[in-house]
């Protein structure tokens, strides 16, 4: 079964600091990769996704992520965080094994707190 690891459980940064959140997955075949954000009390919102092509993916709100196949990683980055980025961030992977239905497997999430 697919597994997704987010090693940082809670990250605290000051405004304008740079952010990098780690995500590693286990399945070595073709995958779709996602980052979702969940603001307090709200639902999951898609930040960005990778299906194929350029491994550097740009998403909304200035976020980007880089797919490194050799490292099974899809780390999320933002050069300068804002207080409004305080939220929980989930990495998710959808492996495209033939014969199996698509489903997302989520990491355990990283709580980001940005101090004003």
């Amino acid at each position: 079964a697919q597994s997704v690891s987010q090693h940082n459980h809670h990250v605290i940064l000051s405004e304008a600091a740079s952010l990098e959140l780690g995500c590693n997955y286990s399945y070595g075949g073709t995958v779709n990769l996602f980052w979702y954000v969940q603001y307090p009390g709200q639902h999951l919102q898609l930040l960005l996704k990778y299906f194929s092509g350029d491994p550097l993916v740009k998403g909304i709100k200035g976020f980007e992520a880089e797919f490194i196949k050799s490292k099974f990683s899809f780390n999320l980055r933002k050069p300068s965080v804002q207080w409004s980025d305080t939220a929980e961030y989930f990495c998710a992977v959808d492996d495209r094994r033939s014969g199996s239905a698509r489903q997302l497997t989520f990491g355990s999430g990283t709580q980001l707190t940005v101090l004003p």
């Binding site: 709200q42 639902h43 999951l44 898609l46 989930f90 959808d94 239905a101 489903q103 990491g107 999430g109």
Partner: protein, 113 residues
């Protein structure tokens, strides 16, 4: 932008009661899902549904759970006899296919007392 709609947003029920959580997926999507998130924990897959049948289900999705697409628009999750540990946020999601992303609904917070 098309949305996945879930109702109700919050449901409180007594232990042992049946609940039905409702979802209206995006109209031209083909694959439908239920996920749940217990407070403070990660989002967990429950079940996927395609072509009017369950494609895959997790260990969590036991005989207490069932899903149905009773008409062309609704997708429901039924919990027959709720337990305290069923308290969670339940998310519905849909996707159009392999090259599409997933769209999540805003969730139903189920509280079992």
């Amino acid at each position: 932008e098309p949305e996945v709609t879930q109702t109700p947003s919050h449901q409180v029920t007594q232990m042992g009661q049946e609940v039905i959580l409702r979802c209206v997926p995006i109209s031209n999507h083909l694959y439908f899902y239920w996920y749940r998130q217990i407070l403070g924990q990660k989002v967990e897959f429950l079940v996927s549904f395609y072509n009017n049948e369950i494609s895959e289900k997790s260990e969590i999705f036991d005989d207490q759970f069932s899903v149905e697409r009773p008409d062309g628009s609704n997708f429901t999750l039924k919990i027959r006899s709720t337990k305290l540990e069923d308290s969670a946020m339940y998310f519905c999601a849909s996707t159009g296919g392999d090259t599409y992303g997933y769209t999540f609904g805003s969730g139903t917070r189920l509280t079992v007392v």
